[in-house]
């Protein structure tokens, strides 16, 4: 990658302070990506641990699973909240859809790592092919998430009868459908707030990822990396994309399994 003219390997083109040297034997770009991801790990972990802390501060649902109704008195059972699948209206299919979403994201991570492997071999055709698959995976995941949010916001047909303090400070008892930031039919307000915030923040990361994937896909296709002499950009975007997958693995466990 860089010309190893001195003992610590300084690129003649970029110099020491232009990112030309490679401390820890990793290029400037890769190193910075790692440190950015480390800071992002802290951000996401803070969110997820907050979710856990708020969750344990509410009573868990103790009744039988068949007679479950949402209430702001206790935390809902996730498999009874996330149980809908597109085109299968009214069918109880707990966690099936989110399972598909997880599968899609893990698969796109696999195609990404295949693109990185192709990049190591300077194989433009393979890089373009696998980047395209990865991008499709990302877009599919985002579409699934849009459907999931839509369903979560609009809610079930029956709704839940809740007593709560509405946005203008009145104490009301009424049937609530779906979810917003004040009240939701599934559980305490914090349940929907955390759902929107954490899956939203993750979805935002995926969206950025898809944009980056497209840029790299385009640049690889028109031969920018061939001219540059290396496919390191694929590697850096790959790191980011795997991180998005990594976060989803934890979101999946905390929101949908626990």
């Amino acid at each position: 990658m860089s010309a190893h003219s001195t003992a610590i390997g300084v690129s003649s083109k970029r110099g020491v302070w232009g990112g030309g040297n490679e401390p820890l034997k990793a290029s400037y770009g890769k190193l910075m990506m790692w440190f950015f991801l480390l800071s992002d790990i802290f951000t996401f972990t803070a969110f997820l641990i907050t979710y856990l802390a708020i969750r344990v501060s509410y009573p868990a649902y103790a009744g039988s699973l068949d007679s479950f109704t949402g209430s702001n008195e206790y935390w809902p059972v996730p498999e009874l909240v996330f149980e809908a699948v597109p085109f299968l209206h009214g069918i109880h299919a707990p966690l099936i859809f989110v399972g598909i979403m997880t599968f899609v994201l893990i698969s796109s991570s696999v195609t990404m790592v295949l693109a990185v492997e192709a990049g190591h071999r300077n194989d433009r055709g393979d890089v373009v092919k696998w980047m395209l698959w990865t991008m499709l995976g990302g877009i599919t995941f985002l579409s699934c998430q849009a459907w999931e949010w839509n369903h979560f916001i609009h809610g079930t047909e029956g709704g839940s009868v809740l007593t709560y303090i509405n946005s203008i400070g009145q104490n009301v008892t009424e049937t609530v459908f779906g979810a917003n930031l004040v009240v939701n039919e599934y559980g305490p307000p914090a349940f929907a707030q955390l759902f929107f915030f954490i899956t939203g923040f993750h979805g935002f990361h995926v969206t950025i990822g898809v944009v980056l994937l497209f840029l790299a896909f385009y640049q690889a296709a028109v031969g920018v990396y061939d001219k540059r002499g290396h496919y390191e950009m694929i590697e850096k975007i790959g790191l980011y994309w795997h991180f998005v997958d990594l976060v989803w693995v934890f979101v999946f466990t905390l929101f949908y399994l626990i």
């Binding site: 820890l24 641990i49 856990l52 802390a53 492997e117 790959g238 466990t253």
Partner: protein, 109 residues
Amino acid sequence: MEIQENKSTLQVEPRNEEKVKKIWKTAGILLAITVVEFIMAFTLPRGLILYALFIILTVWKAKYIMMEFMHLGDEVKPLFYSIIVPLIFLVWLLIALAKEGTDIFMLRW
């Protein structure tokens, strides 16, 4: 002399089947762990033990993603540790906030 304008000088290397095989194997492991988690969610009674098992399995999956997909294991040791060691602080955050949440529960209910 031949003009090399806009022509790549990079040599395309043949596919490394062994590497590709390893990638698919890792993908298989990740998928298998997810399936196991799925089955556990429906068969085992809910409780602290199940939650602990879920978190252990998730960290195990995270290890595969970081070591195999992100190639963190192939980096030099100082870089590896400068990424992994700071994560120890998160263990404390987890313990502190789990206790805090339980205490709030005691106060409220």
